[in-house]
Symmetry: C2
Subunit: 336 residues, 2 copies
Amino acid sequence: MAKVTIKDVAREAGVSISTVSNALNDVDVLNPETKSHVLNVAKRLNYVPNLNGKLLKSGKSKMLGFFTTSVSGPYFYTLVETMSRECDRHGYGLNIFVTKDKQVIMSNILGGRVDGVIIYEELGIDDMDIALIEKNKIKSVFLDREIQNETMGSIIFDSYVDAYEATKYLISLGHKKIAYISGVETMFDSEQRKAGYLAALHDYGLTADEGYILQGYFEEEGSYNAVKSFVNIHSGKLPDAFLAGNDLSAIGAMRALKSLGYEIPRDVSVVGFDDIDIAQYFSPPLTTVRNQIARQGMLVVNHLIRMIQKKEQGRHEKLQGELIVRNSSQIKMVRD
Amino acid sequence: MAKVTIKDVAREAGVSISTVSNALNDVDVLNPETKSHVLNVAKRLNYVPNLNGKLLKSGKSKMLGFFTTSVSGPYFYTLVETMSRECDRHGYGLNIFVTKDKQVIMSNILGGRVDGVIIYEELGIDDMDIALIEKNKIKSVFLDREIQNETMGSIIFDSYVDAYEATKYLISLGHKKIAYISGVETMFDSEQRKAGYLAALHDYGLTADEGYILQGYFEEEGSYNAVKSFVNIHSGKLPDAFLAGNDLSAIGAMRALKSLGYEIPRDVSVVGFDDIDIAQYFSPPLTTVRNQIARQGMLVVNHLIRMIQKKEQGRHEKLQGELIVRNSSQIKMVRD
DNA sequence: ATATACTATATAAGCGCTTTCATTTCAATA
DNA sequence: TATTGAAATGAAAGCGCTTATATAGTATAT
């Protein structure tokens, strides 16, 4: 049995294809009887419209595209869940494209398969691509960079301020020697957090020591190794606190410290970023900065849909994080 | 500036649109000079083919669709990563549709937007839908159910055997009273694991006690509560071991046990399923069954692409898990 | 010189759908 | 009775592309 098209339905129902189309799309010009008859026939034949034909003509897919190189990591959990729920709520579908192939990305963004695009792409998409997206009038919102552009939007985290606040918190506990465990330099968030950390140190009159910035690659293992070798190099002399660029790093750091016989937070405070699931169940439960991921997901979809439907222009929002104080940090103990 | 189409390129290059099409699609009939000239013009105009037009005509999208209600949870990490890498390798794109809306799902499966579909859908898609997918000759592979059907494939985990083996392992350590922490009854894996657990008990002459099956909802918190109230009901009398339906449950169980003052594995063994990231870093590191998720992702894509390209028929594969023995389980201590 | 076979390119049909506009029907009004 | 207009439906164009077929131009064989 071949695929049933609108023609088949028309023939079977004894009407023209435009009547079928009108019936299916709820265009209110038909005799109610005709309409329900057509709908019955369509159902009986198990007719499902071909989306390509539909889209080619109408240009409206009721689909949002999310372009990303990965959906791994705790961040995407919440983000994708919220976005898809929010899409559902507005009668849109969410279409995720996971690839690093810029060809594929651009061809799907510009190829007219979706009504609007959400882009999370640390690498790859450059200014020329962005110009091209803009020129094609594709509605778009970015999740990982600020766009200085009226036709596109961005909803990002204020990692700089968050790190500033977290550092300030550690300082307020009396810590003076604070180390930062960073990711790689191409990571926007890692760099923003480092900058915020440095700014806070500076503002509160503490000296920033280059040697206190460790390279943990935002991974458990990487951070574990970094901390171990740090302690080694400094012959056992610990900083007062570690500010880890993300929770995985914090967890790796704590594992290293525990394995070296230190107790947290008695001997050293540790603060992470992200508040991943496991953070609260860890021992000790981790003090960390929680991003408003769900809010980001909600906002990005709402914003994009408004841009599509109401021709609203691109807005740029920065979401503040919230410091969740648990047991991996405490007031500096004065030892004698 | 309006969207540039194949016509614009043709006009600008002074050739017909079929020549443009042939140049772009690398059809080897053109004079190399003509071809490169056309390609240059296309590039200069920033031409990107409209995928709907292309697809409508050709019927080939070089895209695979993955339909799921969620991408949350550690399982999807690996699965999606592997699938997308594997797609890339074969020149296909991966298109994830996250929704619970059956209308959306079916219309995208049957609407001709993708060349083949991968379906993970615990609920929603019923036998009628499956029949419809089959009738439309859509190539499909299922990840969460067995299909008894030659035109469709399935790559699933052998949860039954895995649980059987894990239970056998616990029995071999001398444990006799073994509790199972289950998810809800609609979860295929949870039920399969329960069945395997019960079968092993039976085969080794142990009695299965209805009261030893706890309801943890496959979540940390749920399992924590279930274990707490279990211990409460049994007035402190612990089983020899807990077999948790997944790692989150195992972690919740361990938290409950620790909070009640028990030590693991001295007082009770705990075994989980899935080997999530954190399992190895937990304290104590968790004994668990590792599924071949990456292998599943690889197989499903390869299989689907072979079905599409080589008209291969649907295969049905069951993937065996691997028991990873860590420190949350040990030989039964005989107390006096 | 004519027929034949290639080679390179253009023409045109049509994929499945929406949508504009024309047509038909029929009741209401002048 | 003729005119008008509203309501319901159909005809047809065309979205952007691929592809089968036609055509023209050139080289080779007879």
